[in-house]
Symmetry: C2
């Protein structure tokens, strides 16, 4: 039996799922590249349907579904990286009832149209590590199942629930909204992130890399309860959105841990 060629229907299907968001979401399936991420998906209980590997490679990830052989050179032609790693694992998306997840959550990170796959992946890692209950992406954000996001998340995407929901749904769920804004607004009170109380039922809201939050949000009459700023030395634009999110979620985690174990940490 020889491996599947580049024109095989299943192979073309994988290629489309890797390159097109619309295909992924129309079908509710996506492709995981490489053994480490596939193993992470299996460990986190995601459903993997099949794994595609170069014929004779002997590669197989336990639990990632039946092995299908690819003809020589096919992996390189369809994968999203220049040095692709087998297997390509076909997996099913998980759907969350966002209202239900938000109702149970006490600490979420909201990303409003964050655009860069590397930024989203990094923020997913930080959010998982800081103990966020969910990451909410507004419509227009980069797709969490984009191969670059999966890679940059180092598997965090399989561990922290990712919801797609409009900002209004987060407001309706009753969170205290901590906004971040890269530009000054006259008359607005901004609070150093280390001085703000981040111990409540908290949503940290980060805006798009270039545009920030939408006008009706980035407004003193808007739903944001507190505007956070990361006081820093040096130039004004020194942290990108992923670094800023990392700093904020770990400050929230610090304050929340202190609240849980009063007296066990220094002030």
């Amino acid at each position: 039996m020889s491996g599947l060629g580049a024109t095989n229907r299943n192979v073309q299907h994988l290629k489309k799922l890797l390159s097109r968001r619309s295909e992924r979401h129309a079908e509710g399936r996506f492709v995981i590249e490489g053994p480490v991420l596939a193993a992470e998906a299996v460990r986190a209980g995601w459903t993997c349907l099949a794994q595609f590997v170069p014929e004779g490679s002997g590669i197989e990830v336990d639990g990632a579904g039946p092995v299908r052989a690819l003809a020589p050179g096919v992996l390189e032609r369809i994968a999203s990286t220049q040095s692709p790693q087998a297997p390509l694992t076909l997996a099913e998306m998980r759907f969350h009832d966002s209202a239900q997840v938000l109702a149970m959550a006490t600490f979420v990170v909201v990303l409003d149209r964050v655009n860069d796959p590397g930024n989203l992946g990094t923020i997913l890692r930080s959010a998982e590590a800081a103990g966020a209950d969910a990451v909410v992406l507004t419509p227009g954000s980069v797709d969490a199942f984009n191969p670059k996001v999966l890679r940059a998340s180092a598997g965090a995407v399989f561990h922290v629930p990712v919801l797609v929901a409009p900002l209004d749904e987060v407001v309706a769920a009753g969170f205290e909204l901590a906004g971040t804004s890269s530009h000054e607004a006259p008359g607005r009170t901004v609070v150093a992130h280390t001085s703000a109380d981040l111990t409540g039922r908290l949503a940290i809201v980060m805006g798009n890399e270039a545009a920030g939050l939408p006008d009706r949000w980035d407004d003193d009459d808007g739903p944001v309860d507190v505007w956070l700023t990361i006081r820093h030395h040096g130039r004004s634009e020194s942290l990108n959105v992923a670094m800023a999110a990392t700093v904020l979620v770990f400050e929230a985690a610090r304050q929340r841990a202190q609240m849980d174990r009063p007296g066990t940490e220094p002030s």
Copy 2:
């Protein structure tokens, strides 16, 4: 007058400086790609010797030296990115007397053989923003003048002094050494980064992405004064070295700001 061709001696020189660390350091010069980074170098007072732009492009960065024209297609052939940005600016390295800088410093970040240009660039941004006095790279670290590092640093490399020095020189300078270790050592006391006192004359030491710190350092009899751990939820390997460094330097900045202005921040 027509632009310089790909075989021109000056053009070949730029290409070597972009691709070879040894050339850069033999000569004490390097190349800055794009207008934003060049403007940042000028603003920070670095010496720029010449700027090379496609002929007729009209691109010129104030203060970045005399403009030299490149023939069509030459920029693309020598730049380090697929979509190169003019100008290519020839600049002089700045040398620091590491003993002198370390003697004056109260807060430094030490990177032991950190390998990835993106990680170094990100850590330079964090170190600058958190108010570190210098970043120390041990021999064997990625070169701070690597084009990918310059880009990832978003110009921070022009603002925070970067020293190349062995770990022993940091020890000799009398810092309190806060080490980070990704692997457990039996009997070692590790302290949550939020519980450790980071207000002293502090060197935060981060090891190589894969190998961590060298054995003689990663030892209870070694020079490290306190081992830090970032307590986190989820899986064990959830933060990479750049994210971990960002969290640590901002916790240090938080504690140090509190010390400077007692009573102005909540505990």
